[in-house]
Symmetry: C2
Subunit: 207 residues, 2 copies
């Protein structure tokens, strides 16, 4: 059945397992692809235009901001990053779903731009101690470094209530299955169905 | 994680496969049970009070209507049927989900009474011809009998847009999996989570 695609936004504090979940979803779901960002930074060796990023000049980036050609954009240190509207809109209209791996600020901008196309999932670590353990990435990490990471995670987590779904990542396979169920269900939402059996839309028109 | 239960409402025209799907869901999902209706009709042999129905007198039924103790009620010929509010409210508060097999009028009343607890799924047959084939239950059915059934199905189907999800029942296993995904996803909705990890609710309170 033909339907409009959806924008799946995954956010989480670092250390909660979002990247692993995203990769598994992309591998297992042929109808889902990762959104490609535009950036003003230079390509690194091996990066491919249109696959890793759309590489644009500062001038072109600013022109696109002004022309409202981005769904969201952010400045990170000296570089600018954004989600171009065109490729996302094309995917959705063709019934393909797009995955966004963004922080709460990106998610908020996307929500504002996309409205009903967006499905927001927030991934949480199972406990404070488990998060701390995961953020201790190296044995020589100082307490101060870990405290800094915890504070950043806490700040990100305080935005959990902006999301439609909450997945507590206790076990990775269980969490992947949970996000897959969310995708499967959201694809069946009435407002995404464009091509109900003809005899039903006929009834609908006569209603 | 503790959560509030949900009310899963399945509706469809007869012949679309709703009963088969409901049975499969109830068999496979220990956390889901069928809502037990109250009725003024007499028990039939083998029917058990509280399992098949709550059998009540006409006077008791009317008292319950007046006291707003039903989530929905309807008169069918000489008998009255209703969904008692108490057992449903108890199940939801204990995190158990309740399945309702009702027509669009029952669904509309439940929606009005339940608001955010309700998840409505409408099951559609794949085509006009397939529905007609399924409604020809006996070889000797006259054209007129089948036409009558089709008209009734059409009238039911015209209410598809009152539901949250649409499942076109092409193949029964696929449709059961679809409703299971809807259940799994709806259980993860933010507003149903009552018991997020303590460190998150702490953040939330400080927000």
């Amino acid at each position: 059945m033909a339907r409009r695609g959806l924008m799946l936004v995954l956010s989480s504090p670092s250390g909660a397992g979002k990247t692993t979940i995203s990769r598994a979803l992309l591998e297992r779901d042929d109808n889902l692809s990762l959104s490609v960002s535009a950036t003003t930074r230079k390509p690194r060796p091996g990066e491919v235009e249109g696959r890793d990023y759309f590489f644009v000049s500062d001038g072109e980036f600013e022109r696109m901001v002004q022309a409202d050609e981005f769904l969201e954009h952010a400045d990170v240190f000296d570089h600018r990053y954004a989600t171009p509207r065109g490729p996302v809109e094309k995917a959705l209209s063709e019934g393909r779903d797009v995955l966004f791996d963004v922080d709460w600020q990106g998610a908020q901008q996307l929500r504002h731009a996309a409205r009903d196309d967006l499905v927001g999932v927030f991934i949480l670590p199972p406990s404070h101690d488990e998060l701390e353990r995961r953020l201790h990435t190296r044995a020589q990490d100082s307490e101060e470094v870990v405290r800094g990471r915890m504070a950043k995670a806490a700040s990100e987590m305080s935005h959990w209530s902006d999301y439609d779904y909450i997945v507590v990542n206790r076990e990775i396979e269980e969490s992947v299955a949970a996000v897959q169920a969310i995708l499967a269900a959201e694809r069946l939402r009435r407002e995404r169905q464009l091509d109900l059996p003809g005899f039903v839309t006929h009834l609908c028109a006569g209603n």
